[in-house]
Symmetry: C2
Subunit: 350 residues, 2 copies
């Protein structure tokens, strides 16, 4: 008897980093950001359906490793993600990630995917989808404070989803600004490198803060923010890491993904526990107001939630079969007779 | 510029089901069970060092999907495992699993492995390692009640680690017994198929119960269990699933992996919250007594704990490089400049 071949059920499609990048180029980065934004918006609309388990974090001196599970009742997904700020000094990514989808009915995995690139895409798509609902009408100009790994994704998502065509870039390290502007060179955006955050904000209707240091910082102070602005604050995303002065929070209407998580990880960790926030899914559902007037400062305190990863994995799952940008992994044992795992093992040795 | 090749850090060794089976045959199943038993025993010895996060379960009507993370401070591991009892009616495994190890210091994954086969191996190795400490001296004969997917692994681990040479097999479905005896045919064990559980227990010093139905069952009643026996009760491993009559528990000294988990999932879910148990790691450490006399009934209420999976993954990690039974997965994006993820994406499209 020859070794048994695994059946089709034993195979899990795996999207490598290389295949993910091929998928992005095949679809087109702006089209994919729009597609991701649509999937995320759909899942925000059916928010109440989801199992919102808190993430499970394993903290160490160097950083954190987290598992972020969720389920819509039919499909289960989780993301593995680490956050190691010091990695950057050793030439490593501070954040790497992968994710998995499985069928709730059988527990069998149906997709394994890299999520370092995909998380960057979904973070930007989430921000832009939210800005589509909250930014002042006709917004064209965005200040980008922090020009690191997430900045270009934010810029293109805001272009693709909200119609931003002008960027005012600032980073404490001017080489980061140069890098981001070089990367965005061919995307038809008008860009200005600015020497101060104040200069970056001149004429901007949207301010995106996406700096990287793990510490309480004050990237924006109160006097820097004018009326009517939409602030997309995504860099303050873990305990001890914030970017905005609390006076800005007090003057703004604050929108969040999932309050129990944002109160620990977001900008509002600086505020009392009962600080009022609006849940973004309710704005999308029409059950809570978004922007109500032109002078209001709207502030999206984005920390990244499991449902956004779930949406992103669903999007990828839906596109890989047609494109072939995956490989099959023999990841799940699938003996002919499920009670005979040992027999499968025995036969494989012959 | 050509597409950049991922650096070595971007690759995660993956052990497929096929490679896991090759590894088992290469090492030899009994030698590997002994090796796994040693690794598990080592990790029980340094039990206090581990981060013992409770597992994160996502329940549905059909079953459960769980993530079981742990860490020893240097290495982080988790297992994905599902339990879907009805799967067996559709020709699917009731339990499938995979696992991952990562470095705590960087968050970078270092091993992805199938764990359906490996879990069967570690479960048996854990049981036998525990029985080595608790079973009556010179035990040679074991009753195996429930002859499903786990039974052969239990039999061989008890042979390899405890010197069991005689099996008395019983299953409610005689075809399961036939299957198990056929699978174990060449391993030098003396085996008898029994028509009742009582018959199976005649002359046995160890009783292993590993039945599969998800329900309160009474596989063993009190009058069936004589003095001096070691009971290896591994089938009662989730809420609502038990195998033993509670009177047996009252008469036995009960040993467990991790009380907070076993009180929910194990046989002792039938007992009051303060029912006395001994933690197995303390027996191994010499800080709690194991078997104290020849008449005592010792009972291992095994439910499977994250640290055992961690030990098993560590064992595999240590053996794959020499054997080559793995493939490299491009699972983690690793740009030359970590701040330039977008640049890596751009260059890959050229």
């Amino acid at each position: 008897m020859t070794a048994p071949k695994p059946s089709e059920l034993a195979f899990v499609p795996f999207v490598s980093v290389e295949n993910m990048m091929k998928l992005v180029h095949y679809i087109g980065i702006e089209a994919m950001l729009r597609g991701l934004g649509d999937y995320i918006e759909d899942d925000f609309r059916r928010w109440e359906l989801f199992d919102k388990t808190p993430r499970v974090a394993s903290h160490s001196e160097e950083g954190v490793i987290e598992l972020m599970p969720t389920s819509d009742g039919e499909v289960y997904g989780f993301k593995y993600v680490n956050g190691h700020p010091k990695n950057i000094h050793d030439g490593l990514q501070t954040v790497t990630a992968f994710g998995l989808l499985a069928r709730v009915g059988t527990g069998y995995p149906v997709l394994l995917s890299e999520m370092t690139v995909l998380t960057a895409m979904r973070t930007a798509a989430s921000s832009a989808m939210v800005a589509k609902h909250l930014a002042p009408k006709g917004a064209r100009c965005m200040a980008v404070i922090g020009n690191g790994a997430q900045s270009e994704f934010q810029a293109l998502a805001m272009k693709a989803i909200c119609g931003i065509d002008t960027l005012r870039m600032y980073d404490i390290d001017s080489r980061a600004t140069e890098k981001a502007m070089r990367n965005l060179d061919k995307f038809g955006l008008s860009m200005t490198a600015c020497r101060t955050p104040e200069e970056a904000m001149e004429g901007a209707q949207i301010i995106t803060t996406c700096t990287a240091d793990k510490q309480y910082a004050t990237i924006l102070t109160d006097n820097m923010v004018g009326a009517g602005i939409h602030i997309n604050a995504i860099g303050g995303d873990c305990p001890g890491k914030t970017e905005l002065h609390r006076d800005i929070l007090s003057r703004s209407t604050v929108f969040v993904e999932y309050p129990p998580q944002t109160r620990i990880e977001g900008e509002i960790q600086q505020m009392p526990e009962d600080f009022p926030v609006t849940e973004m899914w309710q704005v999308i559902n029409g059950t809570a107001p978004g922007r109500v007037n032109d002078n209001q400062i709207t502030l999206f305190d984005g920390v990244g939630f499991a449902i956004e990863d779930f949406s992103a994995l669903r999007y990828v799952w839906g596109r890989i079969k047609e494109t072939g940008f995956y490989q099959d992994l023999d990841m799940v044992a699938d003996p002919d007779d499920p009670r005979d795992l040992f027999g499968m093992l025995l036969r494989s040795g012959k």
